[in-house]
């Protein structure tokens, strides 16, 4: 219903005069997608789970990233942690909307990403803000030895209101996954402080069983009370073109990241 009709000055293309809201037109655009950086590994360092613990958790992990630098191309997304929880609390108390909360929380993960980039600077890692990810990531990976980015996607004021409550739905897990998907990365590894997924909370339920491998549909069917990753990542996975899985790994256990990078079974693989 938006074809411009007579009078519009068109550029000839397959989509010329078509409504991009028309279901048949949309379906007609289905086609293969090229992987832009097929050797890329996206590593997400959790905020609350890793960064907020300080050096005892962060430094061994960064050593492991460096140890894998020769073998694997890594870009490192970083989550926000407790400072984001604090500003969410203050912002909610002031009545601020979701988009404003997202803009504020993204600064906390930018701080953590900057910290990680400083600690890895000596090894050639650079910190790239969103505009530089768009323009410079391939060049930086060719010239530098890796990159660090803000895990929270740059949705800012344009963050979606969630179905329930006001908390921004797209956090650093979503942002890291989306970077993996758009570049057609080799792997997306989410480093947390748990071994992966369990059938129940292992801290409170002795009968909880570990899940090494699960599909998104099975996981949604289980209706777990809480997940160690943002639920929106499951939605994103169901619409994936290139990156069909994410691996949730305990970043506090030395060797886990290396195993995940090597493609070994570690943590929980969530796949389409």
């Amino acid at each position: 219903m938006n074809d411009g009709g007579p009078g519009a000055q068109h550029v000839v293309s397959r989509l010329m005069r078509e409504s991009l809201m028309d279901k048949a037109v949309i379906a007609g655009t289905e086609a293969g997608v090229r992987s832009i950086l097929p050797n890329l590994n996206v590593i997400q360092i959790g905020g609350l789970s890793i960064m907020d613990r300080g050096q005892s958790a962060v430094l061994p992990l960064l050593d492991e990233i460096v140890a894998n630098q020769q073998e694997h191309t890594q870009v490192v997304g970083v989550g926000p942690g407790v400072r984001a929880r604090h500003i969410l609390s203050v912002g909610l108390d002031l009545g601020l909307p979701t988009g404003a909360l997202a803009t504020l929380a993204a600064k906390s993960s930018a701080q953590n990403a900057y910290i990680v980039s400083c600690l890895l600077a000596n090894h050639g890692f650079v910190y790239l803000e969103a505009p530089f990810i768009v323009q410079l990531l391939p060049a930086m990976l060719a010239a530098a030895r890796g990159a660090v980015f803000n895990g929270i996607p740059p949705y800012d004021l344009w963050e979606h209101p969630p179905s329930l409550g006001k908390l921004p739905p797209h956090g650093s897990d979503a942002g890291s996954y989306l970077i993996g998907e758009v570049f057609g990365a080799r792997s997306v590894i989410l480093l947390k402080d748990v071994d992966g997924l369990y059938t129940a909370d292992p801290k409170t339920d002795k009968g909880a069983k570990f899940i090494p491998d699960i599909s998104v549909s099975e996981l949604l069917h289980m209706q777990l009370a809480t997940l160690p990753i943002e639920p929106v990542v499951l939605d994103l996975l169901t619409r994936s073109k290139l990156v069909k899985s994410v691996r949730v790994v305990n970043g506090l256990v030395p060797g886990n990241l290396s195993r995940a990078l090597a493609g070994d079974t570690v943590g929980t693989l969530i796949h389409v």
Binding site: M1, G7, H10, S13, R14, L96, G99
Partner: protein, 281 residues
């Protein structure tokens, strides 16, 4: 990092946020009880269509610009632009080359940016600025001083745009970007200026029996599951989740006076409203 946990300056909700999981529905539900502050309750977000207005050139854009100028002293406006035919060309090319949706979004954003820049040249002599997302903190100042600002309509998702369920076109484009600006600022109105009188039961350009729909709920619109729509489907989905914007209006920019009437609160064109508005502001 337990020092924050023990901080009595935090609200009860704050204590739960610091200690709990943000994906816990109980915590999410608790955030519903917080107040809703409207940041710019007097602003109107007006989206100027790409293919429907901008691509037509002077014959369509000239009268719309005149009408915007006539309203500068009466209504505060954030003017977002659509993309249009050049976006369709670059999407076709990029799909053909196998590029992902995030890259298409970067490319489409450049087209909406071009239209915003053209619109700003036409309004420059009235002191109207063009702000990119990074400049949005200055937006209230320009609105107070000059009555309007221009922005490109695409949300700043760029490479971070998610895939659509079907096909390869970025699902969240300029209709969505403008809606989210209206929602986050708690705007007075969200008005889409296109080249039709609003919504019809079928495409009036192709079907002479199509009848005009002056008012419809988003719930009914979704239930009727039309093959084609006047607005991006993502906007309808977001309307169900929005807590500030309860209705959006579609007017015909080719008919002088419709935009002004909509700004004045008259029911011209088509109004799509949320029949089940949550957590009323």
């Amino acid at each position: 990092m337990d020092e924050v946990t023990g901080n009595t300056m935090l609200t009860e909700l704050g204590q739960r946020l610091v200690n709990g999981s943000l994906s816990d529905p109980a915590i999410q539900r608790a955030t519903e009880a917080t107040p809703n502050f409207a940041i710019l309750p007097w602003v109107n977000v007006v989206k100027i269509g790409g293919q429907s207005i901008m691509d037509r050139g002077r014959s369509a854009v000239g009268p719309v610009v005149d009408e915007i100028v006539a309203n500068l002293k009466r209504h505060k406006m954030i003017l977002g632009t659509g993309a249009g035919t050049r976006a369709r060309h670059v999407y076709s090319l990029a799909i053909d080359l196998g590029l992902p949706v995030g890259v298409l979004t970067v490319l489409g954003t450049a087209v909406a940016w071009q239209n915003a820049q053209m619109l700003q040249y036409l309004l420059a002599k009235h002191g109207i600025a063009f702000l990119e997302p990074e400049g949005f903190p200055s937006l209230p100042h320009y609105l107070m001083e000059r009555g309007a600002v221009i922005c490109q309509g695409m949300p700043p998702y760029k490479l971070w745009e998610g895939n659509p369920e079907i096909g390869r076109i970025p699902p969240q484009r300029t209709d969505t970007g403008c809606f989210l600006i209206a929602e986050v600022f708690g705007a007075r109105k969200m008005i889409y200026v296109k080249d039709e009188d609003g919504l019809y039961t079928a495409d009036p350009k192709k079907d002479p029996k199509a009848t005009h729909i002056p008012r419809i709920s988003v719930q009914e619109l979704l239930a009727r599951d039309f093959n084609d729509l006047v607005v991006e489907r993502a906007v309808l989905d977001l309307m169900l989740k929005a807590r500030n914007i309860s209705e959006i209006q579609f007017v015909n920019g080719l008919k002088p006076g419709q935009l002004s009437a909509a700004l004045d609160g008259e029911p011209v064109g088509t109004i799509v409203f949320n029949a089940a508005m949550k957590g009323a502001a």
